[in-house]
Symmetry: C3
Subunit: 368 residues, 3 copies
Amino acid sequence: MEHDEGPQREASDGPRTRFTVAALAQRLGAEVDGPGSIVVEGLNALDMAGPTDLSYIGSEAYAARWVESKAPAAAVTAGVHVPGHDPGRRALLRVPNADLALAQLLTIFAPPAEAPPAGAHPTAIIHPTARLDPTASIGARAIVGAGSVIGPRTILEPAVQIGRDVAIGADCVLQAGVVIRDRCILHDRVCIHANAVIGSDGFGYRPDGRGGMRKLPHIGIVEIHSDVEIGACTTIDRGKFGKTIIGEHTKIDNLVQIAHNVRIGRCCVLAAQVGLAGTVEIGDHCQLGAKCGVADHLRIGRGARLSAMAGVPFDVPEGAEVVGAPAIDRRLFWQIQAAVRKLPGILKSVSRLERESDRTNGANSGSS
Amino acid sequence: MEHDEGPQREASDGPRTRFTVAALAQRLGAEVDGPGSIVVEGLNALDMAGPTDLSYIGSEAYAARWVESKAPAAAVTAGVHVPGHDPGRRALLRVPNADLALAQLLTIFAPPAEAPPAGAHPTAIIHPTARLDPTASIGARAIVGAGSVIGPRTILEPAVQIGRDVAIGADCVLQAGVVIRDRCILHDRVCIHANAVIGSDGFGYRPDGRGGMRKLPHIGIVEIHSDVEIGACTTIDRGKFGKTIIGEHTKIDNLVQIAHNVRIGRCCVLAAQVGLAGTVEIGDHCQLGAKCGVADHLRIGRGARLSAMAGVPFDVPEGAEVVGAPAIDRRLFWQIQAAVRKLPGILKSVSRLERESDRTNGANSGSS
Amino acid sequence: MEHDEGPQREASDGPRTRFTVAALAQRLGAEVDGPGSIVVEGLNALDMAGPTDLSYIGSEAYAARWVESKAPAAAVTAGVHVPGHDPGRRALLRVPNADLALAQLLTIFAPPAEAPPAGAHPTAIIHPTARLDPTASIGARAIVGAGSVIGPRTILEPAVQIGRDVAIGADCVLQAGVVIRDRCILHDRVCIHANAVIGSDGFGYRPDGRGGMRKLPHIGIVEIHSDVEIGACTTIDRGKFGKTIIGEHTKIDNLVQIAHNVRIGRCCVLAAQVGLAGTVEIGDHCQLGAKCGVADHLRIGRGARLSAMAGVPFDVPEGAEVVGAPAIDRRLFWQIQAAVRKLPGILKSVSRLERESDRTNGANSGSS
């Protein structure tokens, strides 16, 4: 894929951070195999890197791309062999753990954080009964409803909408267009990405006796514990009564649907486009792959792993790994997949065996 | 899952409604088994309830949790046995139908409705040719385009955006961030949740003859009939020409995609993350489970039920129940699932039969 | 499905374009079979058309609906037989290619384009260091951050939010509520539908050593090349480092999730609710059906076709067509589907063969 850069490319060329390889090696605890004087200004993949980009070799597979990369330097795990490396011209930074080093490099090369000013933008609409910590930052056109509380250093980006009697703790970031509806609770360090909706009504109706359906009031709330991250355009419904709960340190990706009265434990990971039906319970430390779904009222045990696209119609025990729709044990799933591909052949074998059996039986009955 | 409550919890403690068990029993038509003088202030699940929460026992399975619950009182269907109930200390409200009672209790405990004031907020932008009923309420920063009509008592929450020549009936509620594009029609009592998009262009292109693709104009509209509810971040595309139609009393959950020229009948239920491709027709009273998908131009007959995650590549007849992807008859699906799990065993049996057959044939040919 | 029209229906009755059939025939290069003097004012499906709507007969199947349609005229491919056509009363416009004619008709009947005025609406908030082309149009309440550049004739609809150092080219349209985050790049003629989010952080964490997880900084960007269209509520994450790239002429539908560092080639089509995990590469001219998903780091070869709901756990070669989850070759998939439906029967056959085999073996051993 070759693309022209286009005239507007220049706009992303702001001042960049510059480091010598030697300086970076010191911060990473790396041994340098090549010139420490090389200067790098950014971080990029091997095949996308330019002549001032540091790169990153995560495995032997990527090491094979080093020769063709334009990067003058790369971080690599100590034991990995990098074919064709020329230490007279380019530098490898050999680190004990390349994944850890990458995390450090991302922090080193991150653009400087730009904390918006404390206080409310003049165009924000803050209800007189709302209480804002003086260190909180309320962006342009944001709205904070009656009785709501915004904690220290919390940032509401422009056009965030906070309903009535919402409680938001310290050091939260709510990005542009996020909607938090009445009475929901966010603890500390919660990060919610743009256009997500927290506290919408659950999906509950009952027949109205005249052929239609009548909406059930949803009087519960959503409570999001500390250190949770929630992706863009994700929707979390409030409890029918009681709470929908997201546990501490749980991370939720984009476009996820979480229905009324779901309870998710601590340190779970929900990948993009997951859907959880009403009153599902997810134990601590579970991993839910992208697009998987769990039917209503089910319990997923602590530490369970649901594969991408799994469709879960039964409870899942602690620590289980399930795959497929309907989801079954991971090992059984792949056994069945292997067997299924032999099915057309099995069909032929069974037909042949039946013909032989009929012939034998015919012969037997004929001979009797 | 134990979570600390955090300092901000207090914010949701507004004034709550207080009732004696006797008073509630009268409203529900319940018989009280225990002290009618107990006071309750809220409604919660058995395992989440505090000492002032009424709870709800939906079935024998939940009845087993009564002893350990902190709730001082619970509604329960008349015939259900509740082990360990101590009528000297706690109260059961025995009702003819617990589901119906729950609906009543949700209404009783719902926070008071807070109808926003009639008229347009000073920061709303209303085109001079738009016509607002004087009882309609237009929230802060909402925008209403040229020629649009907003009916009696309809509420546009803050930052709702209404395009040109849109027609919205009476008693609708459009929540924060909803976008309704040009010329779409909403009848009465339509409720649309936050950040949903109605009337986006359909997904239609044709080759431009030079290797690229050119967008087809989408000149149709979306028409949403009365008593429809549409979930957060749901998207409904306008017709390529003519209309995309949502029938009366149909309920659509969060993150659903409805493509151009889809026609959905009356009283359908579409769970979260459903996707309908272009020109699909859904008959009245259909139920579509979460994440199911229907390919373009198909017809789903009246009263059909599509299971969660069903992938429908063919028309579905009236009243059918289909499961799986590709979706097939529900009973056949589960028969096949049962058989599939025996596949690894079948493989072994067929191999053994073939070996025996070869031996027999070899013996036969050897003996001949 | 019959619906009452409701009182607000009149609002969509603006002035409509009026044409005689003869005039349309001239523009389409059609032969008229019927009165050229018939006047039509709109375009609609056969079964939805009123007495002033032109309609469209795409195939023999639709031709059968002509007699019952209220449309006074329809475009139809030259060779298609239309049973029951009465040329004394109604007109058929016979065209060489009905699909091409439809594209022309959509353009002819499209409501007049309403380009908003150039310049920034007084309520827009433009950072003093942002550079707007004088022909760009910035809608009400839109926000453009520091250092961002907006190109000629580009339209930001109301409430669009552009971060810092964003570069947007010429003739782009960003609809209501779109969020573009810092440093992202859009080339020319990019169209993004309402409430989509471009440049949200990728989903990347590492253990924090104390039982929780720590967010990785995402320092990369999203680059969207020319002539790309992106659907409503679609989310595209920025690169962890480097870029997430969408190639020229690629079309992306509603509610699609594209993770960090994905690279999509030219002229691809991604239907609604597709999900691509981190670092996926999609070659040029690929077609991804609705709801399909691709696991992280995989490569999809040029021209490959992924069916709706495909779940792709392996690389897909150039030009391949895959179906199912896990996705396999299209032909094999349908062979297996056919075989699977015979599974309950196979089970019975194998049981019978085993009984016979046991009997034979028993007889043999008995007779020995």
